[in-house]
């Protein structure tokens, strides 16, 4: 949309024109997903999003993250869902936002954490 406008207008300040036309832009944010014995960790790029405009929801088997960026010339909606499994403890999910990066820590249920087995002497 922006590009088309740029072509027809031959104008440098594309976004200012686009803001008049485009209601909002939907973006699939890039993510990283990591795992260690205790937890899963999700990182998502959501620049310009403030904590109040962020929504993290577990709806098994999906974890939805959604954020609205309202500081730019055109509002941006970030949306992504990842599949999670029964190893995750739904009551132990923590989300923080730092420098435009969403960080969701999903703890594993105790029964799914690796356990060391004591060897008994006979």
């Amino acid at each position: 949309m922006e590009t088309q406008l740029a072509r027809t207008n031959g104008d440098h300040t594309i976004a200012a024109r686009a803001a008049d036309v485009v209601q909002s832009v939907r973006i699939t944010p890039p993510i990283d997903v990591y795992e260690n014995p205790d937890e899963f960790l999700l990182l998502a790029d959501m620049p310009g999003v403030q904590a109040a405009d962020l929504d993290v929801k577990l709806d098994p088997p999906l974890l939805h993250v959604r954020g609205r960026q309202l500081v730019g010339p055109v509002p941006v909606e970030y949306q992504r869902a990842i599949r999670v499994d029964e190893r995750i403890d739904p009551d132990a999910i923590e989300a923080t936002l730092d420098s435009g990066v969403l960080r969701v820590v999903m703890k594993k249920r105790a029964s799914f954490k690796p356990k060391r087995i004591e060897i008994k002497r006979s």
Binding site: T3, A6, H12, T13, I14, A15, A16, A19, T28, P29, P30, I31, D32, V33, Y34, E35, N36, F40, L41, L43, A44, D45, M46, P47, G48, V49, Q50, Q69, V71, G72, P73, V74, L97, S99, G100, V101
Partner: protein, 154 residues
């Protein structure tokens, strides 16, 4: 297609998911070709980073650049009468003791150069970085500001 503003030496977005960069760039064309097919990649145009908006605010121009996870000390911003140059680095290490399931957020060096449509007063430029968004305000030189022309009746 997208309109790009690049410097003479194009920015080398170093995507480390394939590990090809360690071969000294010999496979860069291949790397570029494969980039869209990397697991879970959501952006075809990974070379355009950061995404930017430049808007005309009347008295000033406003540049906004999306810089998630970039620390202020890793950012270098220079402005002259008609050019904005933004250089920097985003580090993104795998957290210690973790294994990787998806890694779409690249660690990269970036550089973008933008020309400003009309002259600005570089000494009055102000920049701030908040929530991963850089905002730069560039006051226009007085001659470039919009002027209201009174219409007289005879």
């Amino acid at each position: 297609m997208l309109i790009r503003w690049f410097s003479a030496s194009p920015p080398r977005a170093r995507y480390d998911t394939l590990g090809l960069e360690q071969l000294g760039g010999a496979f860069e064309p291949l790397e570029r070709m494969l980039r869209p097919f990397e697991r879970g990649s959501s952006e075809l145009d990974a070379g355009l980073w950061p995404r930017m908006n430049l808007t005309d605010q009347g008295e000033c121009y406003r540049l906004q650049a999306e810089l998630p996870g970039v620390k202020p000390e890793d950012l270098e911003l220079t402005v002259d009468a008609d050019t904005i140059r933004l250089r920097g680095r985003r580090t993104n290490d795998v957290p210690a003791g973790h294994r990787v399931h998806a890694r779409e957020r690249g660690a990269l060096d970036f550089e973008r150069v933008l020309s400003i449509p009309r002259p600005i007063d570089a000494s009055g430029a102000q920049a701030s970085l908040a929530d991963g968004m850089l905002t730069l305000e560039l006051p226009k030189v007085p001659e470039a500001r919009p002027r209201q022309i009174p219409v007289k009746t005879r």
